[in-house]
């Protein structure tokens, strides 16, 4: 077993190409738990700590390019908290200050847990995932990137180099249900984005299916039944129906954290709350 500590992206991609079975290590908050408990025996490790390119943040014409290894604390209340209100709220719910100082969105995508807190946000924002290899760059929609429980579309010689998100005018919110405020893995979560320029509301659910669920039916129904060009309050009937449709799109399971029934109920409530916050 060897650890590589490349000093540039070019070097990292080269090393990965030569060692395609190597485990990439960003913040290590998922990987080290696996190693400490011997759930995973690494062969080779490529540490991304010293790859500066992955820490770069850029403002683009229509949005932002977020380096994949920027830690959560920068989105929570640090330099980049302005890029997306929902991403900032989601980041703030991750683990504890210690976890947020090291954990990264790249790692959240790499693990691709259905409970990953930034994933509903990236889904609702229609984020684009930038994957790099020695051959070049490929852009993949977040919807094509996430394949299932802890499965994603990255191939072994690729590094997630950045996440591209649009700049949105309008409300953005993230809500999560867990047993307490700090250090909880989500039982159910939802992200709602109101794009006032496009008169559209998008909704994505976390922890209620094999991967993040985008509520296309609820979204379509809302577009047809409400005026979303401004943020004028909606009737209770509309809000309730939106919540009901969202809950019906969830595919939760029962596990040690909660029951399928409760999860379904919870995402319906979260969807309604977020819609109320968006339209007032």
């Amino acid at each position: 077993m060897t650890i590589f500590s490349p000093r540039s992206l070019t070097e990292a991609l080269q090393v990965l190409d030569e060692h395609p079975t190597a485990r990439l290590l960003a913040g290590g908050t998922d990987t080290m738990v696996e190693i400490n408990f011997r759930h995973f025996e690494p062969t080779d490790i490529i540490s991304l700590r010293h790859v500066q390119e992955l820490q770069v943040f850029e403002t683009l014409s229509a949005g932002y390019r977020l380096g994949s290894a920027i830690p959560y604390k920068q989105f929570e209340n640090g330099s980049f908290s302005h890029v997306s209100g929902a991403l900032s709220e989601a980041s703030r719910t991750v683990g504890s200050p210690q976890i947020r100082a090291t954990g990264t969105i790249g790692g959240n995508l790499g693990t691709c847990s259905p409970a990953g807190d930034t994933l509903p946000v990236l889904s609702a924002l229609d984020a684009q995932i930038e994957l790099s290899s020695v051959k070049g760059i490929r852009m993949l929609s977040i919807h094509d990137f996430m394949l299932g429980v802890k499965r994603n579309a990255r191939v072994s010689n690729e590094i997630i180099t950045a996440i591209h998100i649009p700049k949105i005018n309008g409300f953005q919110g993230y809500a999560k249900v867990g047993v307490r405020n700090a250090m909880v893995i989500s039982i159910a979560s939802a992200c709602l984005i109101h794009n006032t320029d496009k008169s559209h509301i998008s909704l994505a659910l976390g922890a209620v299916g094999p991967t993040i669920i985008r509520c296309r039916t609820a979204e379509k129904w809302l577009t047809e039944n409400a005026d979303l060009s401004t943020s004028t309050a909606l009737t209770t009937k509309v809000i309730e129906e939106f919540g009901r449709l969202a809950a019906s799109e969830a595919l939760p399971i029962t596990d040690h954290r909660s029951t399928a029934e409760y999860r379904k109920h919870a995402v319906g409530v979260l969807a309604q709350r977020l819609l109320k916050r968006a339209m007032k």
């Binding site: 080290m32 400490n36 490790i45 250090m183």
Partner: protein, 157 residues
Amino acid sequence: MYSLRVNGTQQHVKDAWIGESLLYVLRERLGFMGSKGACEQGECGSCTVLINNDAVCSCLVMAASAIDTDIITVEGLAPAESPNDIQQAFVTEGAVQCGFCTPGLIVAVHHLLETNSSPTEIEVKEALSGNICRCTGYGRIFSAVQLVISQREKSIS
């Protein structure tokens, strides 16, 4: 072999397995017994150290990946036998019972006050939300933090 900069001094780590956590290497290979290990999964904060001025769980850092960083452990905050104001305040306020959580909390409080010298009560609670104490019920820990804040404010004015 690799080497780590711990409390300002370069330390050589020999014969280590690459997958070892920084917590393990600090305690078992380098003899820094201050940082404690309780959960080894980032939940308790008793292993908190500073890496490049960030408070992190050393159990979740692969030691060999921490080359070329500045690692500060609780031992690096004050010399043995001469507690700093945070450590003294924990003693004064009775914020230490079994003491297992204390080193991690001292590092977390140090980090908080370095970044925010006059935190509100809720900011203190949030900053320490990654550190679990099974004994004190936290009241005395928060009192100790308030004591440090007020002492430091007095010494400035």
